[in-house]
């Protein structure tokens, strides 16, 4: 039970709280401590006057200094933009090779390109530029429309089948749908296409397909099936397939055709950003 008494050595009362014989002295708070509390109260009032503080029905008290975090962020962003402008203007004015030759510009372009890639390109090509079904992997060494810095730049600027007058426009026809090839012909030519990379199952069909290929496909894919980057025709002899390399998919491709679309980025992004993107994509390991 709590009992109060005056502690003899400290000469002050106890609070009556006791734990295992240890009693809590009822020591008064030092006055300066109280004054410090008053000072904090005054500080708070000063704060209310100077800074945004009280919520109102609509809005809030703005404070004498008119401070706003939102404006500060906007200012900071504007400052950062202004600081970047030096580099970005330089990038906009320089040729791609000149940018690659200047380590400072290059690292700025790579950083900017990585950010822009995440914002604009990742939805289709993936965050790591690894691509996906129908969307090319930008890290490997196979390029539909060319993997040189200039070719990549051109593709990003104008896109693929985007409606832009300078866009890459060539398209794989739907041989089956249009009736150009009959289903058994498609089967044969598919076997032949697979045989180019050593994956054919039916050698006989493949040899029958060779002729069909020569008539219908070589215009774009070339006589030996190695493709043509000017026409966006993929190399059929390698191990990489944009839409899949099994027979069913190849048959489907020949029957229905293919024509993936990439938007033109001129007009959507400023010229400096497009250059940064080209340099970034070129640096991912597949650039030629």
């Amino acid at each position: 039970m709590a009992k109060k008494h005056v502690d003899p050595s400290a000469d002050v009362g106890t609070t009556g709280h006791e734990w295992d014989g240890i009693e809590e002295l009822n020591k008064p708070l030092p006055k300066w401590w109280l004054y410090v509390f008053y000072v904090t109260v005054i500080w708070a009032i000063g704060y209310w006057i100077l800074y945004p503080a009280w919520p109102l029905v609509s809005g809030y008290t703005k404070g004498y200094l008119g401070y706003s975090q939102r404006e500060r962020v906007a200012e900071d962003l504007a400052q950062a933009k202004a600081a970047q402008a030096v580099y970005r203007n330089k990038i906009a004015a320089s040729s791609l090779t000149a940018i690659e030759g200047d380590p400072k510009l290059l690292s700025f372009a790579l950083a900017g390109g990585a950010a822009a890639f995440g914002d604009n390109c990742a939805p289709c090509h993936g965050r790591g530029a690894q691509g996906g079904f129908g969307y090319p992997n930008l890290r490997d060494d196979a390029w539909l429309w060319g993997g040189s810095l200039g070719a990549i730049y051109q593709t990003i600027q104008h896109g693929v089948r985007s409606g832009d007058p300078d866009a890459h426009g060539n398209q794989m026809p739907a041989f089956g749908k249009l009736g150009t090839l009959k289903p058994d012909q498609i089967n044969d030519v598919a076997e032949y296409v697979l045989s180019l990379s050593g994956n054919a199952d039916e050698q006989e069909a493949a040899s029958r397909g060779k002729e069909i290929f020569a008539t219908n496909c070589v215009a774009c894919h070339g006589p030996d099936g190695k493709g043509n980057q000017a026409l966006g025709a993929p190399n059929l002899t390698d191990e990489l397939w944009l839409y899949g390399g099994n027979k069913a998919t190849v048959v489907q491709t020949i029957t229905n055709g293919r024509g993936g679309v990439m938007p033109a980025w001129t007009g959507r992004l400023d010229p400096a950003t497009i250059k940064e993107l080209a340099i970034y994509v070129h640096s991912l390991g597949g650039g030629q």
Binding site: P28, E239, G285
Partner: protein
Amino acid sequence: MTMADVQERTNAPVGRKNGDSAPEAAPGVTRSNTPTVSDTRQSLYAGRTKVYPKEAHGKFRTVKWIVMAVTLGIYYLVPWIRWDRGPYLPDQAVLIDFPARRFYFFFLEIWPQEFYYITGLLVLAALALFLVTSIAGRMWCGYTCPQTVWTDLMIAVERFWQGDRNARLRLDKHPWAFETLWKRGATHLTWLLIAVATGGAWVFYFADAPTLAHQFLTFQAPTVAYLFVGMFTASTYLLGGIAREQVCIYMCPWPRIQGAMFDRDSLLISYRAWRGEPRGPHKAGQSWEGRGDCVDCRQCVAVCPTGIDIRNGPQLECIQCALCIDACDEIMTKVDRPTSLIAYDTVRNLEVGDKGAQPIRLIRPRVILYAVAMVVVGAIMLVALMLRPELEVSVLHDRNPLYVKLSDGGVRNGFTMKLLNKRYEPRAFKISVEGLPAGAKLDLIGHAGGVVPVPPDNLQSVTLYVTLGKQGVKALHDDDTKFAFVITDIADGAKIEHKATFNGPEVEHEH
């Protein structure tokens, strides 16, 4: 052990008020009327009872002067010590370099990821504090705590301008007298100068001291330097000059922790009540039979920087600065009694009183425990320090994507390698791979010839591509194959291997 227990044991009279004093405690010994803080009747809020510490003379005062000179000397002078680290690095012996993210301490250099050395030092410091406290109480508080040292210095300044205790009491009776005003003004001015010097010394730990000093005096130093000097000036002036014992009593958590660290064998500054009681003024020629040695001169109270009466037993306010020992010894010598009426003593000893002194037990389980813990932590740190590599390698495998299939059926893996050169000279490293099937190709982006130069005391990041041809991929047994990067120092041929993993498509045997 509670204060009340001690009170019972020591049986000291309590609650002595002013006014029951004879003018002399003993022939030639003035009796001081210093009230203890607890003498004052207190309400809910207590005004501060000003403490006017009298100057003490004796061995502990001497020790404290020396400790003050050494600790302040270290604090003010260390940033000016030079330490040659070669042409690429700062030559300041102790430097916390935030922009470059390095901490230099003489021969030691700590990178941010090696902060555990600092953690180890802090653990050691904490253990040392526990050890000392369990042996001899609040030695830290009494001798080396910055609050104690600076307060002691500020009191010395006050004494220099305003005189000792009695002179200061007299000045305070005439607060608006010219003498009071100019002497106080001089005191506060000196305090402020000391405070500025304290703040000034602080910033020198964070930048090249001579350069910053020059910038500081020509008003070209960074704003943050002035800010910190200002902050430390204010806190030194306020805490050391004005607040003093209030910091120890009301702000510091350490006194509360003490209780768990003392035991009955700790040497604490104690009044030997068994020898001193019953106390009372002693007249010339009076016999010492039947009375205690304490002549109730209250000199122990007069010198106390926190304004307490040590004769009331152990108290929270006591920082154990030992000045009361000096004061009492001086009086005991004067009245021709043995010294050490107040002394470092153990509770165990105080209990038995004059029935024979107990041997002091320094070696106790907790002392051994703290000492062993210190040795263990110290040894771990020492070993870690000796094994500290001068080249650190970290390799980060590209995760998105894990691997890239190439048109010829090969597979490429991307890596980011970081080379940390902890030497004070530039180095260059050749990088190769080991443990992959023949034909494995290594490309270093931006470093022709596979050689990566790393600046002195710095880090170089490099992008690596490891490519396996179709045959190589076929030779892999698993979709993640262990291999190693071999990093060879061009200059001395020293090699470091760093394990890594090569990822590929799942091993399948259809087309």
